[in-house]
């Protein structure tokens, strides 16, 4: 049974399809990186994993649970972090974590709490209001809540956005270790070297359709062993015209 499974998923906004028949299976123990330009449907797919967005057609399952029919069960299974951190700005960091963990009924040990906070470099910030933190630190707070919950499936949208080098490294290590312990991990990022470093498989989505899928090595071989960036740009409609336009702007 896959950890995350999208079966022929379609989604329309205002009559326009934004997700077009996506089939995607992320196995347990696998880190899958979803790449795609802005507006390609990644976030919509991710939101479906916790039933916040419902597809017009198709099924979304997490650990076998239908996320459309039983979103509460799906939310208990998935550790989901949206692109923009969802936080209460008037709560202190510890108050926020206490709230989230209480909702999930998770009681982490003191040692685990300390380890997570230190790993993400939040030591100095735990007594602050979340609203006083930078974007990157807010993201760390939401990641800390997921780390403390230790869910079976991770779905992280723009997982590394705003993170400093040290925290990004800690998150990379965490994602790999989660996969090794049998969790299914689905992440999106625009940072291709990170994608290459952590992914067992990469899926490229463009205009709501999956246009390529495979290990980083397999994808690179599509363009005769070039960089992942070249493959990505070719598949997502980037043309040399754009480069010429940029050049024209600078002259």
């Amino acid at each position: 049974m896959p950890g995350v499974e999208y079966v022929n998923v379609w989604k329309y906004y205002g009559g326009k399809p934004v997700v077009k028949g996506v089939n995607l299976r992320v196995k347990k123990g696998e880190v899958r990186v979803l790449l795609g330009p802005n507006g390609s449907g990644k976030s919509t797919l991710f939101k479906m994993s916790v039933g916040v967005v419902k597809p017009e057609q198709g099924e979304v399952r997490v650990n076998g649970v239908n996320a459309v029919k039983d979103p509460i069960a799906a939310r208990k299974i998935v550790g989901y972090a949206p692109e923009d951190p969802l936080v209460y700005e008037s709560l202190e960091v510890t108050e926020y974590l206490e709230f989230i963990l209480s909702i999930y009924g998770v009681r982490p040990s003191r040692e685990r709490f300390a380890a997570v906070i230190k790993a993400l470099g939040l030591d100095e910030h735990v007594g602050k209001l979340v609203g006083e933190l930078s974007h990157g630190n807010k993201r760390k707070v939401t990641l800390a809540a997921i780390m403390l919950r230790d869910p079976e499936v991770l779905v992280l949208d723009e997982a590394f956005s705003g993170l400093d080098v040290g925290s990004a490294r800690a998150v990379k290590a965490w994602l790999r270790s989660k996969a090794e312990s049998g969790a299914a991990v689905l992440v999106s990022t625009h940072i291709l070297p990170i994608a290459e470093a952590i992914a067992d498989k990469v899926t490229i989505i463009y205009e709501g359709r999956i246009v390529a899928e495979g290990t980083p090595g397999e994808l690179k071989s599509l363009e005769g062993g070039k960089e992942l960036e070249d493959v990505y740009l070719k598949l997502t409609g980037y043309s040399s015209e754009v480069e010429e336009l940029v050049k024209a702007l600078t002259t």
Binding site: V52, R75, S102, V106, F113, K118
Partner: protein, 549 residues
């Protein structure tokens, strides 16, 4: 008139404050600017639009306040007293209103980093300041405030020209108006600029909540006073004749006959204006223009030291965690909390004169039953404010494993935990003091508790059922917008709540007419309270529903 650049910046600034304010708490009934959802999410701002409704409303209040000046002969009140008392009420009104306009505007301006945004643009300090003040006065409804005084002074001038009112009073009145507006604007700017510190410091939060509550109560009392201005002039006149000189800004009107006292009174007012003005100026140069960014200022606030290695996390039950979180959110939004407490204190203000009058000694049972029912049901309606406290944080709730009925229950309980002790204490205190009947006191408190919980549940469940279909922020405005689109449910809500508050009145009025004994009235009210409580539980389950949020 400000130049076109200032007007442009001010207009956009107001749009931004409106947009961001509706997500939070800046907007209110006293900021008559366009709502963000009008024109599909666009905020439309214009000088006319922002001031016209306020100008009409305030003109009516002003005209009503000027009536005593025209009927001094009939009322047998000296014109000087009528002028002074009416102007005192209007000045109080203007003071409360301008504080309620300026403080949230400034607070949003600072807290949302709009001042930092303006400072990134090629604008001088004086241009920023001009744009801020223009936005406040022209686009945020400040101009309309002057209409509290304009019709009144037109009437006063007419009376003066006809030799009924001495010209000195007109001059002293103008002094009172200018001093009041300068003071309240300066104070509002200074208070609003401390918004970042308010979230952090409990003492400031307490003071801020108390100040808001006082403003709301003052508005309510003044509104009542202005609607019965002729009677108010008669009632207040002897009190103001003795103590009036001490009241800032209008004091000189009450001491016009005594030049020494009048000079002292003018000096007191001038000193207060000076203090507020200097404070506002210092805050403007420090927070607006002085290079201290909001983020830096916020960081300078004391942070609770937490030693991570030693700290554990306090994990509670799902409902417990929701309630704790709501308490934290409410306690850090003084205006929101004051709004909620006002809804509890409003029926208290209305009940106390009834409860302490001769009715209480003549009909103790009926009065206790009525007050307990009224306070219980009314205070339960405050549960809506716990929803509003979510603001943008509500988006998070849609991603958590929560059922609608759980959220509705938590909101209702959070409301009752705040409002019930106050209502029960008032009912218990009034019943015990005026009747001395222990059993009646216990019954009164029990009825208050059952109705508070019942109506909290009902209101919370209906509010939950009216949430926007897609994940969205929760604020007064988003709820009002969804109520508009769900017209039938809105009507149901109003009818249910109307019945809830009206039924005890019917029982209490009909019981004596139908020859029912006080014991029967007690029994009927208890049955009604228990039924409301059970109905509340049913509403939670059926109307809020067990579907995921």
């Amino acid at each position: 008139m400000p130049d076109s650049l200032t007007l442009k910046v001010a207009k956009n600034l107001t749009k931004e404050v409106t947009y961001r304010g509706f997500r939070g708490v800046a907007a209110s009934a006293f900021t008559p600017v366009a709502k963000p959802s009008e024109g599909k999410g666009r905020v439309n701002v214009s000088i006319v639009r922002s001031n016209v409704l306020g100008a009409i409303f305030y003109s009516i209040v002003s005209l009503s306040a000027s009536t005593p000046l025209l009927v001094t002969d009939y009322m047998k009140v000296p014109a000087t007293d009528a002028f002074s008392v009416s102007l005192t009420v209007l000045v109080g009104f203007a003071f409360a209103l301008s504080l309620m306009q300026v403080t949230p505007f400034t607070s949003t301006f600072i807290r949302e980093g709009l001042v930092d945004l303006l400072r990134l643009l090629p604008l001088t300090d004086s241009q920023i300041l001009k744009a801020y003040l223009t936005a406040l006065i022209l686009y945020w409804g400040g101009l309309s405030l002057t209409f509290i005084f304009i019709p009144f002074f037109i009437v006063a001038t007419y009376v003066t020209v006809n030799g009924i009112l001495p010209g000195t009073y007109l001059l002293l009145g103008l002094f009172a108006v200018v001093a009041t507006l300068t003071f309240s604007y300066s104070l509002g700017i200074a208070l609003g600029s401390y918004s970042y510190a308010v979230r952090r410091r409990a003492s400031l939060r307490l003071m801020s909540t108390a100040a808001w509550l006082l403003s709301f109560m003052m508005m309510f009392l003044l509104y009542r006073a202005s609607s019965i201005m002729a009677e108010a002039a008669k009632t207040l006149e002897p009190m103001l004749r003795t103590w009036g000189a001490l009241i800032p800004f209008v004091g000189p009107l009450f001491s016009a006959a005594n030049p020494t006292l009048m000079l002292g009174s003018i000096g007191e007012s001038a000193l207060l204006v000076m203090i507020a003005y200097v404070l506002a100026k210092r805050r403007i140069s420090k927070v607006f223009l002085g290079g201290i960014e909001y983020a830096v200022a916020a960081k300078a606030q004391p942070v609770r030291k937490v030693k991570v290695g030693e700290a554990g996390l306090r994990i509670s039950s799902l409902i417990g965690a929701m309630i704790r979180k709501d308490f934290k959110l409410l306690s850090r939004e003084p205006r929101r909390l004051a709004n909620m407490l006002f809804l509890v204190l409003l029926p208290v203000i209305m009940s106390v004169p009834v409860g302490s009058g001769s009715f209480m000694t003549k009909y103790p049972t009926y009065m206790v039953l009525f007050i307990s029912s009224f306070l219980g049901a009314f205070s339960g309606l405050a549960s809506e404010y716990v929803f509003y406290a979510e603001g943008a944080g509500a988006l998070l709730l849609y991603h958590l494993p929560l059922r609608k009925c759980d959220v509705a229950l938590a909101k209702a309980l959070a409301c009752s935990l705040i409002t019930l002790p106050i209502s029960a204490a008032v009912v218990g205190g009034l019943a015990a003091y005026f009747t001395g009947d222990v059993m009646l006191t216990v019954i009164g408190v029990a009825i208050t508790a059952l109705l508070n919980l019942g109506f909290s549940f009902i209101n919370s469940a209906i509010t939950m059922s009216m949430l926007p279909g897609t994940p969205s922020e929760w604020s007064e405005y988003s709820f009002r917008a969804s109520m508009g689109t769900r017209f039938v449910r809105s009507v149901v809500k109003l009818v249910v709540l109307g019945i809830g508050v009206g039924v005890p009145l019917v029982i209490i009025l009909l019981a004596p007419l139908m020859g029912a004994s006080p014991t029967m009235a007690r029994l009927l009210t208890i049955i009604y309270a228990v039924a409301s409580f059970i109905a509340g539980l049913v509403f939670l389950r059926v109307v809020a529903g067990s579907k995921p949020l």
